[in-house]
């Protein structure tokens, strides 16, 4: 099956700066794929190149098998001819139009009959739960409302590809999690192929079918959220996505790792890197009372609770252990006093050798 979006060997330069350095990936129809990475990693440039808003230096971009950009063929289809749609970080709501005029823009451009436009606008505003706002001036909306209108406008003309450029970064935390659910819901409902740019790893994990982790203009890892979280293939991904302990040391024999503190751990994964670090997610570590009987098949190490921070949804412990300090997250029911001795228990499966 031809991928809906295909990017190969994309390079984008700004003067001497290489923003995107040879990026390739493809996205199947109906997928929601996230470009995740810190600011300056090239994710937004990649998205804008797909939209036709950025002139790449070389590479190929295909949409539904049709070449939109190709440096070899000297082809660069302008934005408006690519048939895609986009939700901007700033929302880009036109302040001189009403809500309905904003939403209808893409339909007017396509010269659809008036009745159809009106019907579509009503339907789309309904979908984003802004039905009562059609005749409001767009400048008199809150951030969250503008966000909904931006989404409504983007989906109104039934684009085959939908691009999101950090759409939620200007909203407050609570609204952000709500909108995350709604966007995912809409995307499933419309079955529209989507590319979503964010620097928020939590958002990426929650919303995506697959995640593309980027850093310094190249791709670090591509995979479903669970894989990215459980099986990071580089130090960068382990560190950037989720909360992980990075334990320095060296691999001594297959399945065994010696930390700088002289502690020997059982690890499962063959090293994908130099084998000098073990990544251990803080949620995968259990803490048991010192007196409990050790479990078999697991790494068991003695330690002491150094500091306890109550976060509500979880408790974060800083635990002193032979290899230094370990960050551990436990459910709020597992309350242990500071200074208490504990058994630290974690499975070799969760020790990712990098």
């Amino acid at each position: 099956m031809t991928p809906r979006i295909e990017v190969s060997d994309l390079v984008i330069r700004y003067g001497d700066v290489v923003a995107v350095n040879g990026v390739s990936f493809s996205i199947q129809a109906g997928e929601l794929v996230t470009l995740l990475g810190p600011s300056g990693c090239g994710k937004t440039s990649t998205l804008r190149a797909i939209a036709g808003l950025e002139d790449p230096s070389s590479g190929v971009i295909r949409l539904g098998g049709q070449t939109m950009y190709s440096s070899a063929e000297r082809r660069n289809v302008p934005s408006e001819k690519r048939g895609l749609s986009m939700v901007f970080q700033s929302y880009a709501i036109w302040p001189h139009m009403t809500v309905a005029e904003n939403v209808a823009y893409g339909l007017h451009v396509r010269k659809l009959p008036r009745a159809e436009i009106e019907q579509t606008v009503r339907r789309v505003l309904d979908m984003v739960r802004m039905a009562g706002y059609a005749d409001r001036p767009a400048s008199k909306l809150s951030g969250g409302q503008q966000q909904r209108i931006a989404v409504a406008r983007a989906i109104a003309f039934s684009p085959t590809v939908l691009l999101f450029d950090e759409p939620l970064s200007n909203l407050d935390a609570k609204l952000r999690t709500e909108m995350r659910v709604e966007i995912r819901e809409l995307q499933r409902q419309l079955d529209v192929t989507s590319v979503y740019v964010t620097h928020d790893q939590e958002e990426a994990l929650a919303i995506s079918d697959r995640i593309i982790v980027m850093d310094h203009g190249h791709i670090e890892q591509i995979g479903p959220p669970e894989t990215i979280y459980n099986r990071p293939n580089s130090l960068f991904v382990a560190d950037f996505v989720g909360a992980a302990n990075l334990i320095p040391g060296r691999a001594t024999s297959p399945g065994s790792f010696e930390t700088t503190g002289g502690l020997t751990l059982s690890v499962s994964e063959p090293a994908s890197g130099a084998g000098t670090t073990v990544a251990l997610r803080s949620s995968y570590v259990e803490l048991h009372p010192d007196s409990a009987t050790p479990q078999s098949g697991a790494n068991v190490v003695r330690g002491t609770i150094h500091r306890r921070m109550f976060h509500g949804d979880f408790i974060q412990y800083v635990v002193d252990w032979p290899a230094g300090q370990l960050i551990v997250r436990r459910p709020p029911t597992e309350l242990i006093a500071e200074g208490a001795p504990v058994q630290i228990v974690f499975s070799p499966d969760h020790c990712i050798l990098l």
Partner: protein
Amino acid sequence: MRALLRGVPRFGIAGLLMLLVLLLCASIVLYPVVFIVAESLNVGEPGVFPPEQLSLRNFASISQDVGVLVNTLLVAFGATVMAVVIGFVLAWILTRTNIPGRTRLERLMELPYYMTPLVGAMAWAVLAAPKNGLLNQVWHGIGGRGDLFNIYAPLGIAWVMALFEGTVAFVMISAAMKSMDPSLEESSRVFGAGKLRTALRITLPLVAPGVLSAFVFVFAEMLGAFAAAFVLGIPGRFYVVTTAIWEATQSFPPEYGRAAALGLSLFAAMVVTLTISKLIMRRGAYATITGKAFRPRPIDVGHARWPLLAVAWGYILVSVILPVGALLLTSFQRFATVNLADSVFTVSNYVTAMSTGTLGQAFVNSLILGLSVATIGVPVIGVLTWIIYRSQMPGRTSVEYVLMFPQAVPRLVFGLGLLWAWINIPIPIYGTLWLLGIAYFTVFLPLGLRTMAGVVLQVDRSLEECARVCGASWMHQMRTVSLPLLRPGIAAAWLLIFIASVRELGASIFLMGPQSKVISPAIINAWLSSSSELSAAMAMILTATVFAAVILLFTVARRFSGAREV
């Protein structure tokens, strides 16, 4: 444009086009300067290009103009001190205290600038001339002896310059005060310092670079000021550099070499001072400019707010109400007097002003020029703004530098250069409105560019990009998104250029011919050769025109900011 050119080799056509734009801008802006330089070195027949004999003698003979230079420095310095003191006090009152009606007062502070130095100087001449100045008449009327004021003196010139050319001091200093993070002061209070200590140790040092920079900037402006020194200095044969340049061109044979040498020296002095001002601003930037706009918490000044309010209104009184009142009164009288019982009221001054062939024609000419320069200039400047701030074209920063160049050249000197430049081109436009139109367009490039840039930069690029992604072509996007959003800014730029053109004096005074008179120089001529009552009527017509445009401008600005606030 970029989209239109997409698909063609990037540096081919775009680069060529850019080179063409750059050359065109450079020729229109820099060409006149070449003539000033050439003339300043010319010791042969004046006004012959290329000069037959070259020498530095014109520069050497500046030493004979020491008196003029001293006058210039004295007046400029005095005016600057006054302007900065006034500006500082007003800025502090209007940004940092809780006096009633601050927002409206802040708006009114712009009016003196629109009064123009020419009208201001004439109004103050009517008010404070020795013997029959209106204020002196009042003084005599209540039994005072001698004259209370004499505006025809260096101090009077400096006073008028401070009032009508120094308004930028207020703008710059209040900008510095507004951009100060109030938490800097608040933290001083939290750490136990009192109001006074905070003001001296925190506020003053933080605002100081802004004030100093404003001082130097205003000083540069004052060096190049012309109208006040002309109206109030010429009768007493008191010359500053600008009026000396004018006088040199009027003598027979004209001392063009001397005028050009003086002009170039003035230009050099202004460039140096403006650079210093910029450096101070940049070095002081650590303190105040954080990029955010703050509205510092006003200090509760208690009962002191009534005297402070009086100070603010006092400024409006001496810079707007009294001058306009004096001109209004005088313009409707046969002989200017404050004794209303004796006065003979008449509209004949206005009738004369509008009907006397050349005077009425001058007003019509100015209107024609204002309308056409603004109407043609705005789209051209719009395209240039777009090239500089929105396109990716190579060399766009050099275009900006070239276009901003006229800002540093005193208008009078630029006018001289334009005169020689266009006389020596075999296109017969000297003595026509065309020459004035080209000159206005050239000298107002920086003004137009700054206004339009402010507007263009306010419109987020993604608003335009979104239209394209939604499927709109470049033309459609321009029509439905860009132009509607830019409309208020375009209107403001149009009005500003219109106002500036209608009141233009410095360049016009050299460039107008017998068949192409314009209003400001015509008012000066009337002032020097006929009655002050007639000139007052003409000044009122000019002021009314400018104020009408200003009211439109404020309306546009309010609607614009109103739309953006929500």
